[in-house]
């Protein structure tokens, strides 16, 4: 099967700091891939490069045959790649329904759904369990609810590849479980997922494959079991000599 996403030699430098260094990988359609690495490893920069928020110094990004490099963020979304943010970024002064409806107005989505953007926003809120709060102002939501808005908004654009930047950060166990269930459902619907997460146990259960990064470089790439045993990953990220509990 041909790759859905093909990243070759991606490179980004901020002044003297190389944030992403010659990163290459491919993603097969319908897979869930985790990105692992200590703070400052370049994970979020990689997301910003893939989604057009930052332009790379060199390298290439191809999504389903289309060259994404050089595209503005909204055009990347229109190609079928959507993202969430590490820190939830709701639209303030707007209701929960409006927050999701904005994304239902993306040109391609609107064409495909016959312009019924509010109905579509309601259906998405239903999917993430926020339907009863549709008319609420986002200011009074819990952090967990804001995370669900992030996901509903990303889904509203009908992505084929979804990039989740630490979706579980700041959530308790009771909030992580339903969110993880939603991610699994998306995978079962055939949406490919790239996920950055520090909550290892939760992430390792979700993913088919893990890419480990350190100082902007890919240091390991394999199944969760392989990564949990990789000496470089253990040294850089886990800081322990023995294999990771519950992973290996």
């Amino acid at each position: 099967m041909t790759a859905l996403l093909e990243v070759t030699g991606l490179h980004k430098q901020f002044g003297g700091l190389t944030a992403v260094k010659d990163v290459s990988f491919t993603l097969a359609p319908g897979t869930v891939t985790g990105i692992l690495g200590p703070n400052g490893a370049g994970k979020t920069t990689l997301f910003n490069l893939l989604t057009g928020f930052i332009q790379p110094d060199s390298g290439d990004i191809r999504f389903a045959g289309t060259k994404l490099r050089g595209m503005a963020p909204h055009r990347v979304v229109n190609c079928g790649v959507s993202r969430t943010f590490q820190i939830a970024r709701p639209f303030h002064h707007m209701t929960v329904l409006e927050n999701v409806a904005v994304a239902c107005l993306a040109p391609r989505v609107r064409r495909e759904h016959d312009g019924r953007y509010l109905d579509r926003a309601r259906a998405l809120l239903e999917q993430v369990g926020l339907a009863p709060k549709a008319a609420w102002a986002v200011e009074i939501l819990t952090y967990g609810d804001l995370r669900h808005i992030e996901i509903a908004r990303a889904l509203a654009t009908d992505p084929r590849l979804l990039l989740l930047d630490e979706p579980f950060a700041g959530l308790g166990a009771g909030e992580i479980r339903p969110l993880a269930a939603i991610v699994r459902k998306l995978r079962d619907r055939g949406i490919s997922i790239l996920i950055i997460e520090h909550k290892l146990r939760e992430m390792m259960r979700l993913v088919d494959r893990v890419i480990a990064m350190e100082f902007g470089e890919v240091i390991a790439d394999g199944t969760p079991t392989e990564i949990g045993r990789d000496p470089r990953v253990i040294a850089s990220y886990l800081g322990r000599k023995e294999p990771v509990d519950g992973v290996a």
């Binding site: 709701p90 409006e98 904005v102 994304a103 993306a106």
Partner: protein, 309 residues
């Protein structure tokens, strides 16, 4: 008592304002009201761009003055009918909006705010430098009035502000308005939701400029004279304050803010030289105690039948 309260309120306001020339036998006060309506157009058009998208325009006088000078040129120099001035003033303001918006609205940071501020100042200087065409400090006078009778002028101005505000409110409540407000909420999140933020900000600026330009042309044909002060920072800042006092982001609030502040400035003439002091004190009080403004929260309260929003 849900929604009907609002319509009663609106009906009473319109009934009072709609009959002013019949019960107010004071042509000076009628003139003040016309001014209030025109400032209502300036303020609501400002709010359409800056209140919806959150990008502050500190040089709205650029569009007001641009429309006014267009009217003066076409009417006085080229002898065209004053009715041509309204659309022409709007179009010239749109062109000015493109010149300012295209380079600056694609950037983050204060560039748009600074560029609008600078552009209005530059045009004000230009009216002095190019005095042979613009009349310098004196400006251009002897414009033709749009209509001859003061009563007709009153109704024209009232109709103008009502139509402008209605169009802007409808646009703000359309799906497009939702996109504009998402830009104010969070630019990066809007981009991630597929919104072409640069395009929509420029679009909002052009709509804003068009109405301000028409308003400026109308103003010119009411004052029958234009001068460099049309481009002044005073006009720009007054419009911003009116929008804030009315309640930023609601468009109709700006119309109310313009009305209240114009009448207040007039009432304060009685205190003579202390006028500015009082005016400023009242402004500070409103912004301090009613940070959401005076008009927009009132309107929301009416919808909810008296209970808090």
């Amino acid at each position: 008592m849900p929604r009907p309260t609002r319509w009663w309120f609106l009906a009473v306001v319109l009934a009072v304002l709609g009959t002013v020339p019949y019960w107010l036998d004071n042509s000076y006060m009628v003139g003040v009201l016309i001014l209030a309506y025109l400032y209502g157009v300036f303020a609501s058009s400002w709010d359409f761009m800056s209140g919806q998208t959150g990008r502050e325009n500190f040089g709205h006088a650029l569009f007001v003055g641009g429309g006014a000078y267009t009217a003066a040129f076409l009417n006085v120099k080229y002898g065209m009918s004053p009715w041509w001035s309204l659309p022409a003033g709007g179009v010239v303001a749109v062109v000015l909006g493109l010149v300012i918006g295209l380079p600056t609205l694609r950037l983050r940071g204060p560039y748009f705010a600074l560029a609008t501020l600078a552009a209005a100042t530059i045009l004000q200087r230009l009216t002095i430098i190019l005095w042979e065409q613009t009349g310098g400090e004196e400006g251009i006078s002897d414009l033709m009035p749009l209509v001859s009778s003061p009563v007709a002028f009153y109704y024209l101005a009232l109709g103008f502000v009502l139509v402008a505000a209605a169009v802007l409110v409808l646009l703000a409540r359309s799906p497009w308005g939702l996109l504009l407000r998402s830009i104010r909420g969070d630019e990066a999140a809007a981009q991630a939701a597929g919104v072409n933020i640069t395009l929509h900000k420029i679009g909002a600026l052009l709509v804003s400029a068009f109405f301000a330009g028409m308003g400026g042309a109308f103003y010119a044909h009411y004052q029958l004279q234009v001068g460099p002060t049309m481009f002044s920072i005073t006009v720009s800042i007054t419009v911003v304050i009116m929008s804030y006092v009315g309640g930023i982001g609601s468009v109709y609030g700006a119309v109310g803010g313009a009305f209240v502040l114009t009448l207040m400035a007039e009432a304060l003439r009685k205190v003579g030289e202390f006028r500015l002091l009082f005016y400023t004190l009242v402004l500070i009080a409103i912004l301090f105690f009613l940070p959401r403004g005076l008009i927009a929260p009132l309107w929301r309260r009416l919808r909810n039948g008296g209970s808090a929003p």
